[in-house]
């Protein structure tokens, strides 16, 4: 029972963090049809920025609770600055080109951003445990969990509800859906598509940054952070269906729980299982389990 | 005049998409050398018929026998191998290649089946054939121009020329004159039909333009709601009441 609960909570926590990052990836793909490899960098930048400032502010004697503000501020700052620069500076000029070529360009960006991290923050790991220490831990069903980890599930739920609300209950949602469904139709309806693209990319980048910033207090923030997370998020969006928020949620749950199960019960297959599921889904249902509807073009 | 055995026999062809009937009770025999015009309003089932004969769609039931070989169940590639080619309503050519490059690929594929595809493609013989086709289809002037810069008419000529290089016995043309200006349509058809006559190909073509039908075909098949409502010579067909009403749209 205790093992079961541990696996479940580990799985949910892992799913939550995957979902926050993947939601950003899938929104960008859904609206812009860009598979954004440098999404991994948004995550890494979010983590580094948060860890760096949490450490700095703590040294200055600020209360630990400020850490939470920093996490949110770091995510927004990373998303707005990097998202804006990349979309306006590079991607804007690539929309006419082959989608595979755009993937390669974002891979190039990923490499550049990885090294700028090294140059900016050095190779030594950062520890930003303060927000985590602040929240303490609780006993649930015989096991002790830290509250900070559990709060991740809450943040992911908030992100999911927020995305759902934005897409289904606001004027913005209508515009986004129109562009997702058919870009040309969106233009003919008078939607300022370039502007929608910029905002979407920034929004997606903020989610990537938030994933990194929120996870930062629980890990040692060290080089190479983005490399693993990007392939895992790829697996999530492929399993769920690229471009679908609900798909990203289901994909995260499947991959998060499978991975937690593997870590506890069969550590040899930990990495294997995630990508095996991804490959199987691609083979049998290439559009993913929850692909959004596509317009007929013929 | 004795009638030779038909080159293609179509029996009880039926195609449904859910509740929609796209083709029904289609029974046709076509003899070698016939030029058949397929007419009908939009959505009458003409393109669906062409797609079934050329293996792009498989019929719900029925049979298509070509030179004694059953075609139902065969895909586009196998139908091409059997000896039936087609052109398209919107030309399907390699748009980032030149006209000559398009033809060379078409010729090479037609000649090098199976393991032979691993032979060097370019040769003097291929070049000579390519020049011959360019000449017959009046494409010499466009030889080294990239397809994407050419007019729809030239693209359609190329599309047809590429369909013919495999020396098919039956050629299906899907609206050959659509997208071609009124002034050019007869010149265009003269080039195409002239070239095809040399090869003695049986031709079926879908056409909206009754002037073209009148001038070039020896037999008309009129489609209405997936069924053939008239199968007769063009002069009779164009005077036929049902054809007048359901195809041409005139009320009397």
């Amino acid at each position: 029972m205790e093992t079961f609960l541990t696996i479940l909570l580990d799985g949910l926590q892992f799913s939550s963090y995957l979902f926050i990052v993947s939601a950003g990836l899938t929104i960008i793909f859904g609206v812009m049809k860009i598979l954004n490899v440098c999404h991994g960098s948004f995550y890494a930048w979010g983590a580094y920025t948060a860890a760096f400032f949490i450490g700095k502010f703590s040294d200055m004697g600020m209360p630990d609770a400020v850490g939470f503000l920093i996490i949110v501020a770091a995510a927004i700052a990373v998303g707005v600055v990097l998202g804006f620069i990349i979309e306006q500076g590079i991607l804007k000029y690539m929309y006419q080109r082959d989608e595979v070529l755009i993937v390669l360009a974002t891979f190039g960006l990923f490499l550049v951003l990885e090294d700028i991290i090294l140059i900016a923050f050095g190779t030594d790991p950062y520890f930003a445990y303060q927000p985590m220490a602040l929240l303490d831990s609780v006993e649930m069903g015989g096991i002790i969990r830290d509250v900070y980890g559990l709060s991740l599930i809450g943040v992911a739920t908030m992100v999911a509800v927020g995305c759902w609300f934005l897409l289904n209950k606001t004027k913005w949602g209508v515009i986004l859906k129109a562009v997702i469904f058919d870009r040309e139709m969106g233009i003919s309806m008078g939607i300022n598509v370039p502007f929608v693209y910029t905002l979407t990319f920034i929004g997606g980048a903020i989610l990537g940054g938030l994933g990194g910033a929120y996870i930062a207090p629980t890990i040692s923030v060290a080089p190479g952070l983005g490399t693993e997370v990007i392939v895992l998020s790829f697996a999530v969006v492929v399993v769920g269906g690229m471009g679908s928020i609900a798909g990203a949620a289901i994909g995260s749950l499947i991959i998060g729980i499978l991975r937690a199960l593997a870590v506890h019960e069969l550590p040899q297959v930990e990495l294997f299982v995630v990508f095996a599921v991804m490959a199987i889904v691609l083979v049998f249902r290439p559009e993913g389990l929850f692909a959004p509807a596509k317009p007929r073009k013929i | 005049m004795t009638r030779a055995a038909p080159i293609i026999e179509i029996r009880d062809l039926l195609k449904t998409f859910g509740a929609v009937v796209a083709a029904k009770d289609i029974n046709i025999d076509i003899s070698r050398g016939e030029i058949v015009g397929i007419i009908g309003a939009n959505g009458a089932g003409k393109t669906c018929f062409v797609n079934m004969v050329t293996g792009y769609l498989s019929p719900t039931s029925g049979s298509i026998t070509f030179e004694g070989v059953e075609l139902v169940g065969k895909g586009p590639r196998e139908v091409t191998h059997a000896g039936i080619s087609r052109s398209f309503q919107v030309s399907q050519v390699f748009h980032s290649m030149t006209v000559a490059e398009n033809l060379r690929i078409a010729l090479a594929i037609a000649e090098n089946r199976g393991v032979n595809a691993l032979r060097i493609m370019e040769s003097d013989a291929l070049e000579a054939k390519c020049n011959d086709v360019l000449k017959r289809y009046k494409l010499e002037d466009y030889r080294d121009m990239t397809v994407s810069v050419l007019s729809q008419g030239i693209r359609k000529l190329l599309d047809i020329a590429m369909a013919v290089v495999s020396e098919p016995r039956i050629l299906l043309l899907d609206e050959p004159t659509s997208g071609i200006s009124v002034e050019e349509k007869f010149d265009f058809m003269d080039v195409v039909m002239g070239a095809l006559k040399e090869d003695n190909v049986t031709v079926l073509f879908v056409e909206h333009d009754m002037e073209i039908v009148e001038r070039y075909v020896s037999r008309v098949l009129a489609f209405y709601q997936g069924e053939i409502i008239a199968d007769m010579s063009p002069d009779k067909a164009l005077a036929d009441d049902k054809v007048q009403e359901f195809v041409i749209g005139k009320r009397h």
Binding site: F107, T123, V238, P286 | A110, A163, S166
Partner: protein, 311 residues
């Protein structure tokens, strides 16, 4: 068959490099070995890239080739350079042939991602399996040539250069055949290719298998040149990305391009590690973007331009 300019350049250039190699210092010979080994994989990716297919997972075949060498060495004590190479290329080729049945139905990013997924499965297995060397990998014993253990690296260098020449000539020939010419046609219009009477799936399957054999051979030669294998520098997705990078850097124009591109990559890496060890990925990434934006034909397009000016 060998009458065209490219074949002549490969033949005479290769022979010249072999002869010059005897006089060159060790470090240059090493660079050439690494460069030529990796170039084989790039040659395979070039075959796919011309048809518009980009695999973000060919480290799978590269890694299979490399690990085959390690395993036949450790388990069976096979040291012969040719058996190792053949083993690596054949295992990878067989895997490519089998996986090709699935892969031939995929295009664009789905093709790229399915390859990534498969390569990451192998990565995941090797990283977690002690008997496969886990994250540390294996050291590989020096290869022998017909039973003789060479004292210098030069004989291995000669063999690698010759394999590179043969592969370049073979691919150059393949690209001139009918199926080899089905590159832009498949990218432009698959329906037309089918209606001309050629199976697009068969064509892609062949291209994919060729690329797998070449990547496997590349991995095998690289393993022998380096004397070791490990998952992070041979199978991780970043390695696949690196292979794609060199392919774009080289350009699809000619079979010689991958060799030039790979050498440029080796030199770039050596100097980058000396001058700015923390900026290696930055240099690669920036070069990548520059090529995509300003030089879509890769380095080869520069060489082709020079060639046209001089003639």
């Amino acid at each position: 068959m060998l009458r065209d300019t490219t074949s002549k350049v490969v033949l005479f250039g290769g022979i010249a490099i072999i002869l010059l190699g005897a006089m060159m210092p060790n470090w240059i010979v090493n660079q050439l070995m690494f460069g030529f080994s990796r170039a084989l994989a790039i040659l395979g990716l070039l075959v796919l890239w011309r048809t518009g297919l980009v695999s973000f997972g060919h480290a799978f075949y590269f890694g299979l080739g490399a690990y085959t060498v390690a395993i036949v060495d450790i388990q069976l004590g096979v040291t012969d350079v040719f058996i190792r190479l053949l083993g690596g290329a054949m295992i990878a080729g067989f895997a490519g042939f089998v996986i090709g049945f699935i892969m031939r139905n995929y295009r664009d990013i789905f093709f790229a991602m399915l390859n990534t997924a498969i390569s990451m499965v192998l990565y995941g297995i090797i990283v977690k399996t002690e008997s496969l060397g886990s994250t540390d990998g294996f050291a590989i014993s020096l290869p022998t040539i017909f039973g003789i253990a060479p004292e210098t690296k030069y004989p291995l260098f000669v063999i690698i250069t010759m394999i590179a020449m043969i592969s370049a000539l073979a691919v150059n020939f393949y690209l001139k055949t009918t199926v080899g010419r089905l590159t832009t046609p498949i990218r432009d219009n698959e329906i037309r290719v089918e209606y001309l009477g050629f199976s697009v799936a068969h064509a892609i399957h062949l291209k994919y298998t060729i690329s797998a054999v070449l990547a496997g051979g590349a991995g095998a030669l690289m393993a022998m040149s380096l004397g070791q294998v490990d998952p992070d520098s041979m199978i991780n997705w970043t390695v696949s990305g690196e292979l794609v990078f060199i392919t774009i850097l080289s350009g699809p124009g000619n079979v010689i391009a991958p060799f030039i591109g790979s050498l440029v990559f080796e030199v770039l890496r050596t100097y980058a590690f000396e001058l700015a060890p923390q900026a290696w990925q930055l240099i690669v990434g920036a070069t990548f973007l520059t090529i995509i934006f300003f030089l879509p034909g890769g380095i080869w397009s520069l060489i082709a331009k020079l060639g046209r000016k001089n003639s």
